[in-house]
């Protein structure tokens, strides 16, 4: 055990731990429908570590890129870089609906115990038409939630975000519980995991409810339960989330040297530093792929 432990980075940040946690949800040779941010970085880390033959796919229609840089969006040029197939949005989603995509990545402003996600509107006393907070909407999330074989959800851990029932179901988890996805013939299996800034949740096979499976280092189960609105079940075999390895941390810091995804780097990003990040990423990542 000690030799394994030694590989872990000592100076990692919470964001880096989340990237690594997302990366480990991905198995080699899987097809991963990636979005923007932490999970996308996780997919790149997976590809550069334990899952070299993972196939990334994005909504704009790019399949299987091996980019030498961070993907800054689902239609960033990084998505066409060394791709095995470049096609259209409708075709990529159709391939997902056909059942070819193993894992999709989702986020939202609210999640409930059945893994239903809201990224559309926070009513906040108002209504759909006149909400307190208008969010961006589904994008491809509804489609991913319905058709990816399984989904990974990334959320901020707050009681007002982990709800008994979300205001609006943008992306269905298990809807009202067991049997609901089958009723509508959803091709995909539903959510497999929620990764928050405090913990990792998985879903009970029978009840379809999210339970606490792992707490991040330094976090207690009790602290997590306080930030969840339903009566959260805890795994009898509660784990502690392993930190990123040195290798993972190194890749994360190379791809995102300006902390666009893994820190507050975005707001003060200068053109000079941005070009510098691209240049150094090109140099260093190229070597890793070859």
């Amino acid at each position: 055990m000690s030799t394994t432990e030694k590989k872990y980075a000592e100076d990692y940040t919470l964001q880096e731990l989340l990237v690594a946690a997302a990366a480990r949800e991905i198995k080699d040779r899987e097809v991963v429908f990636v979005g923007v941010g932490i999970p996308c970085l996780g997919a790149l880390v997976a590809k550069l570590t334990h899952a070299p033959d993972v196939i990334l796919a994005v909504e704009s229609g790019c399949i299987g890129p091996s980019p030498y840089r961070l993907m800054l969006g689902i239609g960033d040029n990084a998505c066409v870089e060394n791709a095995i197939c470049i096609t259209s949005l409708w075709r990529a989603f159709s391939d997902q609906q056909r059942g070819y995509f193993d894992i999709g990545m989702l986020g939202g402003a609210q999640v409930d115990k059945y893994g239903n996600l809201n990224s559309t509107v926070i009513f906040g006393g108002g209504s759909y038409e006149k909400p307190k907070t208008r969010l961006p909407g589904s994008g491809g999330a509804n489609d991913i939630a319905i058709s990816a074989k399984r989904t990974l959800i990334m959320m901020n851990q707050q009681k007002r975000r982990f709800l008994e029932k979300v205001d609006y179901i943008t992306s269905p988890g298990y809807l009202d519980g067991p049997g609901c996805r089958e009723k509508y013939g959803y091709p995909g299996g539903g959510p497999a995991v929620i990764i928050s800034n405090m913990a990792i949740f998985r879903f009970d096979e029978k009840t379809k409810e999210a339970y606490l499976d792992s707490v991040h280092p330094g976090v207690t189960a009790e602290a997590v339960r306080k930030e969840v609105s339903w009566d959260l079940q805890v795994s009898p075999d509660l784990k502690t989330t392993p930190p990123p390895t040195n290798e993972e941390a190194n890749i994360i810091r190379t791809l995102d040297s300006q902390k666009v995804y893994t820190g507050g780097g975005l707001k003060n990003l200068t053109f000079e530093n941005y070009i510098k990040m691209l240049n150094s990423s090109h140099e260093k990542i190229k070597v890793m792929f070859e």
Partner: protein, 309 residues
């Protein structure tokens, strides 16, 4: 001019100003290509300059074109999947319009990226609607009367239907086209090839106009054949600050500056004064951004992705 005649023209070139003023009219429905990149930005600024009103925007995930035209009050209704700026941030004008009715209320009909894609596919195919596994059982179905859920006539489970999208005008931005309108994306096409066909009138803007002989060297790249196109406009850097595959990298720092600029209603007005009305056309916009900066974005992109074309 009749649709027949413009689609059969042997030279469809015009300026961006001409194309927009000829085909974008008050009260029309309009759609744009692009998905998380390849956004149709230069035409958006031109529509702001020209001020067409009461527009219905049909789109998957429009960025500038959605946020700006909602902010200027030119949009009456949106049929979209998502409205924001991806990694750069959320859509401040969309939020103001829905939450506070500023500058005025807008009608919203929400779909997902795939089902908007299917609506354009149906429009492109001349079909009344398309079937999908998405939407059924979610709040999108509940709050959107355009989505219908039926029993599968072949004895299966429930399936959702979405109606064809047939905008009056489409503007798609591609890598290259010839003067006849044969249009090629060297990278991904998002929903471009279907949006182009779904619309009654189609404006192609492109990074570069090339000869028909060049088009014929890579005929499988032609996503939109000439018979679906009414106007061709050469607009280099037409997606800036977004990226264009095989052409230039994303100008994320510029985007962040823009996001800070348009955060408030006043700020948005100032940004429009400076970047839309303060530039008489896209060429002046590019000058203002700085040709050296744009060139750098093209240069760095060649390091990552080189096209053989």
């Amino acid at each position: 001019m009749k649709e027949e005649d413009t689609k059969k023209s042997l030279d469809k070139r015009m300026t961006l100003r001409e194309a927009i003023s000829k085909y974008v009219f008050d009260g029309c429905s309009i759609a744009f290509s692009g998905m998380g990149g390849e956004q149709v930005v230069a035409p958006t600024y031109e529509i702001v300059r020209q001020g067409q009103k009461n527009l219905t925007l049909m789109g998957d995930s429009p960025c500038e074109v959605g946020d700006y035209l909602v902010g200027t009050g030119q949009i009456r209704r949106v049929e979209v999947a998502w409205l924001a700026f991806a990694v750069a941030g959320v859509s401040p004008n969309y939020r103001r319009a829905v939450e506070e009715g500023l500058p005025h209320k807008i009608e919203v009909r929400e779909f997902s990226n795939y089902t908007m894609g299917l609506r354009f596919l149906a429009g492109a195919m001349g079909l009344p609607f398309m079937v999908t596994r998405s939407l059924a059982g979610t709040s999108l179905e509940k709050y959107n009367d355009m989505i219908k859920v039926i029993e599968d006539p072949y004895g299966g489970k429930k399936v959702a239907l979405v109606p064809a999208a047939k905008p009056d005008v489409a503007i798609i931005h591609a890598n290259r086209a010839d003067i006849l309108g044969n249009t090629q994306f060297i990278g991904f096409s998002s929903n471009g090839e279907n949006i182009a066909r779904a619309a009654a009138r189609t404006i192609v803007t492109c990074e570069k106009i090339v000869s028909t002989d060049e088009i014929k060297k890579a005929p499988t790249l032609t996503s939109v054949p000439q018979y679906a196109v009414d106007a061709v406009v050469e607009v280099p850097f037409g997606s800036h600050p977004w990226n264009m595959p095989y052409a230039y990298a994303y100008d994320l720092p510029f985007h962040m500056k823009m996001m800070a600029g348009i955060d408030t209603a006043d700020g948005f007005k100032r940004w429009m004064d400076e970047w839309a009305f303060g530039c008489k056309d896209h060429e002046e916009y590019c000058e203002k951004v700085g040709w050296a900066r744009l060139k750098k974005l093209a240069q760095i992109e060649r390091k990552f992705c080189k096209s053989k074309l």
